[in-house]
């Protein structure tokens, strides 16, 4: 028995290439740790520039790996269109996060080195999550990504809000991860495998599939994943954590780890548990409705821009869950498109918040936007595009995102969910429009009249997402075609 188990092989070249993005990010992160004590405080921009180079090479590596798709490392990983899509998405989120953190870290007087090293580790974890083909790898990726994000939340050690944020996120997050892990253990017990394809095969072909066990496992894993995507009823942490975390980290959390968590949601539930869709789809349906409603109505009551964005993030998770409740390939494609559009609008929003909030993040009230249209017309105009996209106005990425999602929902006969979702979007426009009203119809306040123009890095962090929103809104065809092609998960 032992003898046959020794059929190990040294990794082949194509296997290494398929893992290259993760390798680049880990190597860069580790190298940066060595660099931190050596460089000391002499080159403040060094770490940021270095991470941008590392992330750009990881994007290139992801695209290169896609030229020869397939599995790697005894089927633990798979490089397909789906993995490549999400890899490029989370890495792009990473780049804009780094761009919006240059000025922030300098302003708050904190160390740039560890911040960027943690961003790189977190990205490595997320890339691993989206290309993993086994529950074990998904779990390792999730842990790497989560641990780095917990620390980033409390990065400003002397800020009580950041401490509260990190502690809440860490305690609840590790609890949710434990649920997820328990689910994995039960799946392994029931099917004898952690490989997604094997689990699927067992569940489809077994004479008497272990229905009860798999039901419990699905419930436990849903708890873990719904927490990570901040969907109701596991959304309570989001407003506090988003509010207390440093703004670039909030921006990162709401786009990167969230997209990666949706990716594992899609991959696990559309492959391994697809045959049990009649069991879990109603739960997703309910969670989608709750998330949209709680998110949108919660946001109506808020006055702090980061809390508004947190509730908005819950609501948007709800919209994506509508696509998941459809349990179809076009639903998967719609979710992919929406996550890309959502990442664009969110990151751009937060880039402005980083600038406006000022040292110590004191100006976070919605009133602080008053008169931005007068003092900073270009910034306000770009922000308007993003807000319109969040509402879902035509010619923006947000519009097509919602359009594809509700189309997929209607094709799966989810009429009620579609109607409720559309009503929700109408409610949502109120609190988004409040920001617009503040910017254009109020006299400039203390904050906006003394505001400096955006530094170059923040300009880039705002302009690139706006460009993305425009492209997705005017030429959605290319991306949705790619998503449709890669949505067939095996």
């Amino acid at each position: 028995m032992l003898a046959e188990a020794f059929t190990y092989t040294t990794p082949r070249t194509e296997e290494i290439i398929r893992l290259l993005p993760e390798l680049i990010l880990s190597a860069a992160g580790t190298f940066m740790m060595v660099l931190i004590p050596l460089a000391k405080d002499r080159y403040p921009s060094l770490f940021g520039n270095f991470s941008i180079v590392a992330i750009l090479s990881a994007i290139a590596a992801s695209l290169f790996a896609f030229t020869n798709p397939g599995t790697a490392f005894s089927d633990l990983m798979v490089v397909d269109g789906f993995a490549t899509f999400f890899r490029v998405l989370v890495l792009s989120v990473g780049i804009t996060t780094v761009l919006s953190s240059y000025r922030f870290l300098h302003r708050e007087g904190t160390d740039p080195g560890e911040f960027h090293a943690l961003i790189l580790f977190s990205l490595a974890g997320q890339c691993l999550m989206v290309s993993a083909n086994s529950l074990i790898m998904i779990f390792i990726g999730l842990e790497i990504s989560s641990i780095a994000t917990y620390i980033l939340c409390g990065y400003l050690r002397d800020d009580k809000r950041a401490n509260e944020s990190a502690l809440k996120y860490f305690l609840l997050g590790s609890f949710a991860t434990a649920f997820f892990l328990y689910g994995i253990a039960i799946v392994y017990g029931a099917t004898g495998s952690v490989a997604l394809t094997d689990i699927r095969r067992v569940l489809i072909s077994a004479a008497s599939p272990p229905v009860a066990m798999i039901g419990i496992a699905i419930a436990l894993m849903l708890v873990g994943i719904l927490f990570k995507i901040s969907a109701a009823p596991f959304q309570v942490w989001a407003p506090d954590v988003y509010q207390g975390a440093p703004t670039p980290v909030t921006s990162f959390m709401s786009a990167g780890p969230k997209a990666a968590a949706f990716a594992i949601f899609l991959r696990i539930f559309m492959t391994a548990f697809q045959s049990d869709a009649h069991g879990w789809a109603p739960l997703v349906w309910l969670s989608a409705l709750l998330s949209m409603t709680i998110g949108n109505f919660g946001a109506l009551l808020q006055n702090n821009i980061k809390r508004i964005m947190a509730y908005s993030s819950i609501a948007h998770a709800g919209y994506v869950l509508v696509a998941l409740a459809a349990c179809s390939e076009i639903g998967t494609a719609a979710a992919m498109f929406y996550l890309a559009a959502y990442a664009c609008m969110n990151i751009g929003m937060f880039a402005v918040v980083v600038h406006l909030s000022g040292k110590g993040e004191r100006h976070l009230s919605i009133e602080d936007f008053a008169g931005l249209g007068v003092t900073q017309p270009v910034t306000a105009a770009l922000l308007t595009v993003l807000i319109l996209s969040l509402i879902g106005v035509p010619l923006t990425g947000g519009f097509f995102g919602k359009f594809y999602i509700f189309k997929a929902a209607l094709q799966s006969n989810l009429v009620w969910l579609t109607v409720l979702g559309l009503l929700n979007s109408a409610v949502a426009s109120y609190y988004y429009l409040r920001i617009l009203v503040m910017m254009y119809m109020r006299e400039p306040g203390e904050v906006t009249s003394n505001i400096e123009p955006l530094p170059f890095t923040l300009q880039a962090a705002l302009f690139l997402p706006v460009l993305g929103t425009f492209i997705l809104g005017v030429f959605p065809g290319a991306l949705i075609n790619f998503a449709n092609h890669s949505a067939a998960l095996k």
């Binding site: 993760e22 740790m33 007087g109 904190t110 943690l118 790898m137 409390g154 050690r157 800020d159």
Partner: protein, 197 residues
């Protein structure tokens, strides 16, 4: 030996219940150690001696140290004296002692059995674990070290004691608030241990 499995499972469940219902941190810790030992015996009986050993080394050994350190850091105030006296009273150690005695009897039984101690059909030797770890799952092992490295950065960044540049800059306008928060932290800690006593 199904009997030993169920016996130590019951010990684990009872000890864990007692862990989460104790109001005194030290009492809870004693029960937690017993619970971890019982789980180690469960692993052993199910044919996973390697995992049983890891359970002892990592959880009952290393992780418990962290818990003790937390108690050391927070154990302040006069009422802590009463708490400490409490540790030497029989009701503090009798419960964990009894549960541990049950476990000891089980271990003695297992040792006397020599072979056939497993409920499962096979024993998974540490060699088989190693073959899986360094064969198909080798990439997972490497990534685990990345996970630990990320933890290292975090442990240092959040736990370091030296005053940083960040604190200097923020200190200008938050010193007062920090003084307030420190006072609050001390009284919160004191309140907690009085609660425990």
């Amino acid at each position: 030996m199904a009997f030993i499995f169920y016996a130590s499972s019951i010990v684990a469940v009872v000890a864990t219940l007692l862990t989460i219902t104790r109001r005194n941190a030290i009492h809870a810790l004693l029960y937690l150690v017993v619970s971890l030992l019982a789980i180690a015996i469960d692993f052993y009986v199910m044919g996973a001696p390697f995992v049983a050993a890891l359970e002892l080394i990592i959880y009952a050994g290393a992780i418990m140290v962290l818990f003790v350190f937390v108690v050391m850091m927070l154990n302040i105030g006069e009422h802590a004296a009463e708490t400490e006296l409490d540790v030497f009273r029989p009701r503090a150690w009798l419960g964990p002692g009894l549960l541990a005695a049950v476990l000891l009897a089980e271990v003695a039984r297992l040792v006397s059995l020599q072979s056939g101690a497993y409920t499962g059909s096979t024993e998974i030797s540490s060699k088989q674990v190693a073959v899986a770890l360094f064969g198909p799952y080798v990439i997972g092992v490497e990534l685990a070290s990345l996970l630990l490295t990320a933890g290292l950065v975090g442990a240092y960044h959040l736990g370091r004691r030296a005053v940083s540049r960040e604190e200097e800059i923020r200190g200008v306008d938050t010193d007062e608030s920090r003084a307030v928060s420190r006072g609050a932290a001390v009284s919160a800690g004191a309140g907690r241990s009085s609660h425990a006593a």
